[in-house]
């Protein structure tokens, strides 16, 4: 059985196999492979220049890959021009046609024998209702707000029932509150329609909140593919641990990796860390700790291996406060409900007990 047939049998809608993209001598994508299941919402996440947009454009046929294969719904599309593929796309700029009103924009692709005038008009009205913009249908893009423009772009991309929806940083041009609302709307719409969706984003919160799976990329390679929980709780590399979610990190040396409780030593501080078991004795390591995993005060005293630290700063973030701590040269961040700050008496230079559960310290070889 060839690759395409096998993929279809396994419920896989899109297969990217060993895709490499070079621009001159620069390697933008380096042998990237991944499978996306039918109806899945997958985010490509990474810092700028990691190749996530290049991969999206390769899948769309806008920048064909230099090597490798891309199979969509059992069809090898690697070499097809964009017009012969089956996808809808929303760009960061939306690329709405400014001289056409909302109706004309949404119905732009509904032409040809498959879309007689009446059928196209009905479809346009259906889409306008779907994105909830009925009262604005006659407006031009410039007369719509950013969020409204985004919905028009989405409706236009979905008009022709594409099998694949591509979103290139669809929310990054919007205000934070609109962004949070729209991403849940997009996710709800995607679930209702069941359309396989790929979203490119550099915003990890966005990726964590809407995706079935996240592809974390760095310098043209895939670092990790996993559910949001996997990527957040079990990062595959130091890069993923540092990039996804907020972490404090410090360098340490591995002690007794094969003991019942392996330990990490950073200066005078010695911490129990389950994950250090995979490293060798004396190896230089980098440890990451999520702020919500740090126990403070009385909570910490109950833990084995609690140590003392000095508060170097407190940031008020509304519901929670972030506390910056320093313990014998090791910097940590902790998060706790704003109400607890007074209870703990956390002023600047206050000393208090700190502990971290052994299984919550993420440890990687220090590069």
């Amino acid at each position: 059985m060839d690759l395409a047939a096998r993929a279809v049998a396994a419920g896989i809608y899109l297969t990217v196999q060993d895709v490499t993209k070079r621009f001159g001598r620069f390697v933008a994508l380096d042998r990237v492979s991944l499978d996306i299941r039918e109806g899945e919402f997958v985010s490509f996440l990474g810092p700028s220049g990691c190749g996530k947009t290049t991969l999206l454009r390769a899948i769309a046929g806008l920048d064909p890959p230099s090597e490798g294969r891309i199979v969509q719904a059992g069809r090898d599309i690697t070499h097809l021009p964009p017009g012969e593929r089956d996808f809808g796309i929303v760009f960061q700029s939306y690329a709405l046609f400014p001289n056409l009103d909302m109706r004309a924009n949404i119905g732009y692709g509904l032409r040809g024998p498959a879309w007689p005038r009446a059928k196209a008009a009905a479809r346009v009205e259906q889409l306008i209702a779907m994105v909830g913009l009925e009262e604005h249908a006659r407006k031009y893009p410039a007369q719509l707000s950013g969020g409204q423009q985004q919905r028009v772009a989405l409706a236009r991309a979905l008009a022709n029932h594409p099998g694949l929806l591509l979103l290139d940083e669809p929310l990054s041009a919007l205000d934070a509150t609109v962004r949070a609302r729209l991403r849940t709307e997009i996710r709800a719409l995607q679930k209702a329609l069941g359309v396989t969706t790929i979203m490119v984003t550099h915003d990890q919160e966005e990726a964590l909140s809407v995706s079935d799976r996240i592809v974390v990329m760095r310098e043209g390679r895939i670092e990790q593919i996993g559910t949001p929980e996997e990527v957040y709780r079990r990062p595959a590399s130091a890069f993923v641990a540092g990039f996804v979610g907020r972490t404090g990190s410090f360098r340490a040396e591995v002690e007794h990796p094969h003991a019942a409780t392996p330990r990490l030593r950073a200066g005078p501080v010695s911490l129990a860390a389950t994950a250090a078991a995979s490293l060798s004795p004396g190896e230089a390591a980098r440890a990451f700790i999520r702020p919500e995993d740090v126990r403070l005060g009385d909570d910490a005293l109950g833990h084995e291996g609690a140590f003392q630290a000095v508060v170097t700063g407190v940031e008020f973030l509304g519901p929670v406060c972030r506390v910056h701590l320093l313990a014998e040269g090791v910097a940590l961040e902790a998060e706790l409900p704003s109400g607890d700050i007074g209870k703990l008496g956390l002023g600047h230079t206050a000393r208090l007990w700190v502990a971290v559960p052994a299984e919550r310290i993420m440890t990687y070889p220090d590069a």
Binding site: A60, E84, A142
Partner: protein, 561 residues
Amino acid sequence: MPDGGAFHPRVSDEQRLMKLALGGAATFLLLGLILPLGWLFARAFQDASGGFVGFANFAEYVATPSLAVSAWNSLWTAALTTLLVVPAAFTYAYALTRSRMPGKPVFRAVMLLPVLAPSLLPALALVYLFGNQGMLRGLLMGESLYGPIGIIMAQVFYCFPHAALILCVALSGADGRLYEAAAALKAGRGRIFLTVTLPGARGGLISAAVVVFTLVVTDFGIPKVIGGQFPVLATEVYKQVVGQQNFNMGAVVGLVLLLPAVGAFLLDQWARRRQGGFLSGRAVPLEPKPRPARDLPLLGFCTLVAALLLLVVGLAAWGSFIRFWPWNLSLTLDNYDFNRFDSAGWGSLWTSVRMAAMAALIGTALIFVVAWMFERGRVAGPLPRVVGFATAIPLAVPGLVLGLAYILFFNDPWNPLGFLYGTLAILVLNSLVHFYTVCHLAAVTAIRQLDPEFEAVSASLKVPLWVTFTRVTLPICLPAILEIFVYLFVNAMATVSAVIFLYGPDTKPASVAVVHMEEAGQISAAAAMAVAILMVNVALKALHLAMAGRVERWTQAWRLR
């Protein structure tokens, strides 16, 4: 589909068509620009019978005193004109963009008047004023108008609007925040002018100086009419080719004429690269506040300049109705009975109109489509770079040199395209190529304002490219397209230098008729023809302005918020 081995993305039919069309554009530029210029270059190294003589022609050129003198004359008159024009144009543009003086639209309209006229028109007006029978001859204190004095005075008028236009653009793109920041840092007006205004306009100042210098060095009409015995490069080329039929020496002078133009062009490119990104997308437009201490002197200056411009144009117009300057000042229409002075009569104006209309129609369509394919075609391979390079060249090639290259190339016995020589077609081709770069840049600027992903969106929606081109690109760019049309028409009407070598017995353009009538001493008839050219251009410009409003309402409604 290739399996392993060579890796070739499949190209859509549209893409293939696009590549073919861009190849056609490259061939057009090759035939209409590169080959003629190459042939000019080759002829400079040949003798009259076509044998290779190396640098002998150049040695002869250097050894001929009159030729070397003409080069020096061209250089210093151009430099002096530049020094006079740029500060005046800067002040005028500054008043139009950075002051609250009243009557700005009027001053802007008056400023543009000389652009619509052939360069000969100010020269003819000066003859009325300071010529051998001029009214104000005494002001020259015994010096003759015919020579450097006349050339420089006429060039100042002719070049002023070109420089002022560039400086208006440079000065209008100011970020108000920079001025607020400077004022908040307690900088005085003088310091703000020196540290914010001038650096912001530096690119425009260099461009304006370069354009004026090049215009003067390469202009043929003014030195022909008013240069007298004062030789400059442009008239020298004409003398070598038309007078002495010495095509090889003409080619050498043509190449010499190309030098300052190419040098100026490269300087401008360099300045542009250094300028880059001064104005960010988030800039806040500067709104000047009323300040009489600045606005009133500027109003006075602009009134003086506008009065001089109107005087020159008005004088030429008045002169064209005078029976016999300066002895019989009664008015007559006799000078417009062109059949009395020139065998082509009114026909030459008709020839010019047909030539300009064809150049504008064909040129606008061709230039815009090529610019669009160049910007948005995503054609692979070296073709886009070749086209991009070729479209930049015409700006650096003086009309006279291009005309000379055409006569050498198309008139050569071996050339199968020789049948074009002396036809209207070659005049159209020449005008189109001569004014190509400015139009191409205008088209590219308009297209770049469109979202770069329009074509990708169309492809994903399975809409053919040409549909998006006609439904979106064309309507949005229509104002720019009309500008290009008017630019091509107006310039083709007024140009002398590009066509002086190329017309045939049945295709003499009006601007050449002006030169011939002036040569024959019929100043009033020459002025009448120059005014007729100006009127055709003014009429077209007025039509454009009247239409622009309607077109705007029709195609640009979406810009309203």
